[in-house]
């Protein structure tokens, strides 16, 4: 499955099938050209756009190429809060998704091994949210949390919520929404590693008089690490760029705007393309650094 994208796949180490041939070029070329045209050059054009300056006396939204590095200073000064907030929310959502996803993956991958049909059913339940519109399920939470709803009623009864306060539009509801939406992305890669974990290794830990907690910490957890790493990347990356949960019409408010929110507003509404591009480059750079550290530390030589 694609959810093992970040974990090394075991390849049949049969060197004899690998050969040099012009066929390889024919197979690769169309796709590689497509990726260069629509992935590499767009990133370059973002970089160029991020350095543009307004045409003096030009129309609204008219820019010309320049080397205006001040654009970066401008966006970091103006949108520093939103940028930091994005990474904060994404980190919290990854943590909560891990706290929910790891035990769930352990349950499906290890506890349910003796019940293949139940295991299959639970796996379907984990991927089920993918099949219903992302936006509608986020809106469903908004309506469940609504002022006249049962959750808000309970919260104000136990005194967490003061009169006139609402759950939606707060950092809590945005992180909640992000966590909910990315739990499957966290659970599936961890499940993929735990599912093929050799239980004899865990038994060996017990045979050597390790407590279950020690065995878990020194045997199970290190073996599950590749899954945890890919799950964290698959959650953190889309969560940091997401602006649906943080949107005013969904679970957020103007106080929860994230970097995606301001990129969208600058590009599509304010037509401040250089600012939107500079913010995108900042976001991309941070993600690349994180991915680089992860890949280096986990020693994943084979990326896919």
């Amino acid at each position: 499955m694609a959810f093992s994208a970040f974990t090394p796949t075991e390849q049949k180490a049969d060197a004899s099938i690998q050969k040099r041939s012009p066929v390889a070029l024919l197979l690769l070329l169309p796709g590689v050209i497509f990726l260069v045209l629509f992935f590499v050059t767009p990133l370059l054009s973002l970089l160029l756009t991020s350095l543009q300056e307004p045409v003096p006396g030009g129309f609204f939204g008219e820019y010309r190429q320049a080397l205006r590095w001040e654009n970066y200073v401008f966006v970091l000064e103006t949108y520093g809060t939103q940028t930091l907030r994005s990474f904060g929310y994404a980190a919290l959502a990854s943590l909560f998704a891990l706290l929910i996803g790891f035990p769930l993956a352990y349950f499906i991958g290890i506890t349910l091994r003796r019940f293949p049909l139940l295991q299959a059913l639970c796996l379907v339940l984990v991927i089920a949210p993918f099949f219903i519109s992302f936006l509608l399920r986020t809106l469903a939470w908004k309506q469940i949390f609504a002022i006249e709803g049962p959750v808000a009623g309970f919260f104000s009864m136990i005194g967490i919520l003061g009169p006139g306060q609402s759950i939606t539009g707060t950092a809590f509801s945005v992180v909640f929404g992000l966590t909910y939406n990315f739990i499957p992305f966290m659970t599936l890669p961890i499940y993929a590693t735990l599912e093929r974990l050799d239980l004899r290794l865990v038994e060996a830990g017990g045979d050597l008089y390790a407590s279950p907690a020690t065995t878990f910490r020194t045997v199970t957890l290190p073996l599950a690490a590749p899954g945890v790493i890919s799950g964290t990347l698959l959650t953190f990356i889309p969560a940091s760029g997401d602006y649906i949960n943080a949107s005013r019409d969904f679970l957020g408010s103007t106080e929860t705007a994230m970097i995606g929110t301001v990129i969208e507003a600058n590009f599509l509404v304010l037509q401040n393309y250089p600012a939107a591009a500079a913010l995108s480059i900042v976001l991309m750079a941070v993600i690349l650094v994180l991915v680089g550290i992860y890949v280096k530390r986990s020693g994943t030589e084979d990326l896919l």
Binding site: M1, A2, S4, A5, E10, Q11, K12, Q18, K19, R20, A24, L27, L28, P30, G31, V32, F34, L35, F38, F39, T41, P42, S45, L46, L48, T49, I100, G101, L104, F107, T111, P116, L117, Q119, V124, V126, I127, A128, F131, I132, S133, F134, L135, L136, A140, I144, I183, P212, A213, I237, G241, D249, G260, E264, Y273, A277, L283, M284, D302, L304
Partner: protein, 264 residues
């Protein structure tokens, strides 16, 4: 984990699964709501929304656009991705690491960056936004997922089967189309379904490149401010039920087959 007590993990995981189901059940229930424009408060059960889905015309048109985009983008991504996946496993070539990086990076790029990048490029090149630009954008983010999925299948193929074909004097074309391709097909189908689902539900990349065209998610996003018609819930629920039915059937047949094999 075992120190937690034997049943704690059952209870915890059961609660997590229920938690995952809440908004899905909510969306399906509210597809039966007797509401007019805003589907927020429960006003009683009705089948009208299901029977006249296209009463909300814009919902239906958006749905049609989404299907069209998903079909074309899935086709492009599946063909190009499968070719690359085969080349990656089966051939050695120069710039292999660069190619791997080129495939890996789109998976780690936030959607908003992919969307803004393409939009900036289309703007600079003077390409008008529309269905075409959305299809290109979708094919782009699906292609890496296709490669990863199909590649796993190519890597797990038993080379002995193809050798047998060659030993029986099959031409390279015959060996590919009669042996390799049928064996890869389940992986290719899985990749195509994944791409279809990703494309159908995408909002962020679409929003940057759609111009005035409306897809199902972009319809929901715009309508969220003034209220979503229940017909949108009908479409989402119908798509969900179909997909789940498909997955359940394939999962259970696979599990049953494993059980039969285990008994042998």
């Amino acid at each position: 984990m075992r120190g937690f007590g034997k049943y704690t993990i059952w209870v915890y995981s059961g609660m997590a699964l229920v938690f995952l189901m809440i908004p899905i059940v909510y969306t399906i229930i509210f597809s039966f709501n007797d509401a007019r424009r805003t589907n927020i408060i429960w006003r009683g059960f009705t089948l009208d929304n299901w029977l006249n889905v296209c009463a909300a015309q814009d919902v239906c048109r958006a749905f049609g656009n989404s299907i069209l985009i998903a079909v074309v983008a899935t086709f492009i991504a599946t063909v190009l991705g499968t070719m690359i996946a085969i080349a990656l496993v089966r051939y050695r070539f120069r710039f292999r690491n660069t190619t791997t990086l080129l495939i890996f990076l789109p998976l780690t790029t936030p959607e908003v960056v992919l969307g803004a990048g393409l939009a900036a490029q289309f703007l600079q090149a003077g390409v008008p936004k529309g269905l075409g630009t959305v299809i290109i954008a979708h094919a782009l983010f699906c292609i890496s997922f296709v490669i990863v999925t199909v590649r796993a299948r190519v890597a797990s193929l038993d080379p002995a089967l193809e050798e047998a074909g060659r030993d029986l004097y099959g031409s390279p074309q015959q060996v590919f189309w009669r042996i390799t391709f049928p064996l890869l097909l389940p992986g290719i189908i899985a990749a195509a379904l994944l791409s279809f689902a990703l494309s159908f539900d995408d909002f962020i990349i679409t929003n940057f490149n759609r111009g005035a065209e409306v897809t199902f998610p972009s319809f929901v996003y715009t309508a969220a401010a003034r209220g979503i018609p229940p017909e949108a819930n009908v479409i989402a629920s119908a798509v969900f039920l179909l997909a789940i039915l498909f997955v359940l059937v394939s999962q259970f047949t696979a599990a049953a087959r494993r059980r039969r094999l285990a008994k042998l």
